[in-house]
């Protein structure tokens, strides 16, 4: 695919809502690594995005800072297989954690917001959740990330056309998927190839810089 066509496909983050999940898609049994995602990437806005293995990032010493009683061996296996994504936008530094899962030959990304820093100081906090995106390679140097469309999935679920554990509070308009990691996987096994889940959702195309 020509680069010009790739950029024509790009819809920037923020145009529609992502699907918010409380529990991560990844577990120690399902998380995988793929070295092709590592490196420095450029998106459609020429923004540079660094993807590192967690143990190559500034979070590598986190286990030394935690009480061993606070996590299990499975937790640490899941954790160290994550990637750290870093980029700058409008003078803010964004940091995400990403975990990769393979389901029926397709790769899915569990993306969790980690930090937003202004001059090194964290300016956003709260209860961090994850979203899910499908990841595919155009080549080793170009990848496409398509997020599940939270708005359309919410509609599908509230109309009773698909069953996933969730909570919905009409008063405050809160809608969150509360399904377990296994239930999320089962959902993607069943519906992961259904384009309606992604239609109108955010997508981003990254091209390798180095």
């Amino acid at each position: 695919m020509k680069v010009v066509n790739i950029f024509a496909l790009v819809a920037l983050f923020g145009l529609s809502s992502c699907l918010t999940i409380v529990n991560t898609l990844t577990t120690s049994d399902t998380i995988v690594n793929d070295s092709r995602v590592e490196g420095l990437w450029v998106d459609g806005e020429r923004k540079q995005i660094l993807v590192q293995k967690l143990m190559d990032s500034r979070f590598k010493n986190v286990f030394k800072e935690l009480d061993p009683k606070d996590y299990t061996r499975q937790d640490s296996i899941n954790y160290i297989k994550h990637y750290v994504i870093t980029y700058r936008e409008n003078a803010l530094e964004y940091i995400w954690l990403a975990g990769l899962v393979e389901i029926h030959g397709s790769f899915y990304l569990n993306l969790q917001a980690e930090e937003c820093l202004s001059n090194g100081k964290e300016i956003y906090g709260g209860l961090a959740t994850s979203s899910i995106a499908k990841l595919s390679w155009e080549s080793n140097n170009s990848l496409v990330i398509r997020f599940l469309n939270g708005d359309s999935i919410k509609e599908i679920i509230l109309e009773g056309k698909a069953r996933v554990r969730h909570m919905y509070d009409p008063l405050f308009g809160t809608f969150i998927i509360t399904a377990s990691s296994q239930e999320l996987r089962q959902f993607l096994e069943k519906y992961g190839d259904d384009n309606r889940l992604f239609k109108g959702g955010n997508s981003i195309i990254l091209n390798r810089k180095s």
């Binding site: 923020g14 529990n23 961090a128």
Partner: protein
């Protein structure tokens, strides 16, 4: 420290917050909402040992802010408060939309966070990954110049759930998934039990500020 927190976010194990109760659903229904004008004002607060823990400023929800509110809330926004919380040095540490609700014979405040102007400049996709949760307190207004807040104690509820004494749903991060109806059943059953609450935060009106 955020680094130390991230693993907890991943494994949803131990607390990343204090021992308070955080819920996905509000504790109130529309009909439970009451408005007490005497809460409007600036309050200095201390913990049970008398230590200064900062201040709360209660204001009516500004009309200009209503467009930012969830649709379900707009119609009751006249009965809500915009509450700004400051630390003991006077620095703003959070803003919340707050509703006072009468559940059983007691009154409760339900806090729901709103974004500060600085936070609104952050990428929406990033912000969408943070869910807003409700934090609730029993509110005992003693007189027009003094009230006490008592946070629900997470440990007490956790013990009830562990011993199958109550049917409520716990998620990771000490988050309570139970519906408003289930939360109210809990409040009606244990609302007068002192063990269901943490220690009191005591707030006194600042007359001239």
């Amino acid at each position: 420290m955020r680094k130390a927190i991230i693993i907890s976010c991943l494994i949803f194990s131990l607390a990343i917050f204090s021992s308070c109760l955080r819920t996905l659903y509000p504790i109130f229904l529309e009909d439970d909402v009451i408005f007490n004008e005497s809460l409007i004002g600036y309050w200095n607060c201390t913990d049970s040992k008398g230590n200064d823990i900062g201040s709360y400023e209660f204001k009516p929800i500004p009309k200009a802010m209503r467009s930012e509110l969830p649709a379900g809330i707009i119609k009751i926004s006249d009965s809500g408060y915009l509450v700004t919380r400051n630390d003991s040095l006077g620095h703003e540490i959070g803003r919340n939309i707050v509703f006072l609700a009468k559940i059983g014979k007691n009154q409760y405040l339900d806090f729901y966070p709103v974004e500060t102007p600085l936070q609104k400049t952050i990428n929406k996709h990033f912000r969408d990954h943070y869910i807003k949760v409700h934090t609730s307190y029993r509110c005992d207004v003693k007189n027009t110049n003094y009230f006490e807040l008592r946070e629900f104690d997470y440990g007490f509820l956790e013990g009830l759930i562990a011993n199958n004494q109550i049917n409520m749903t716990l998620s990771g991060n000490k988050l309570i998934e139970s519906t408003t109806q289930e939360l109210q059943e809990y409040i009606l059953r244990y609302g007068d039990n002192p063990k269901a609450y943490g220690s009191a935060t005591k707030c006194s009106r600042v007359v001239n500020y």
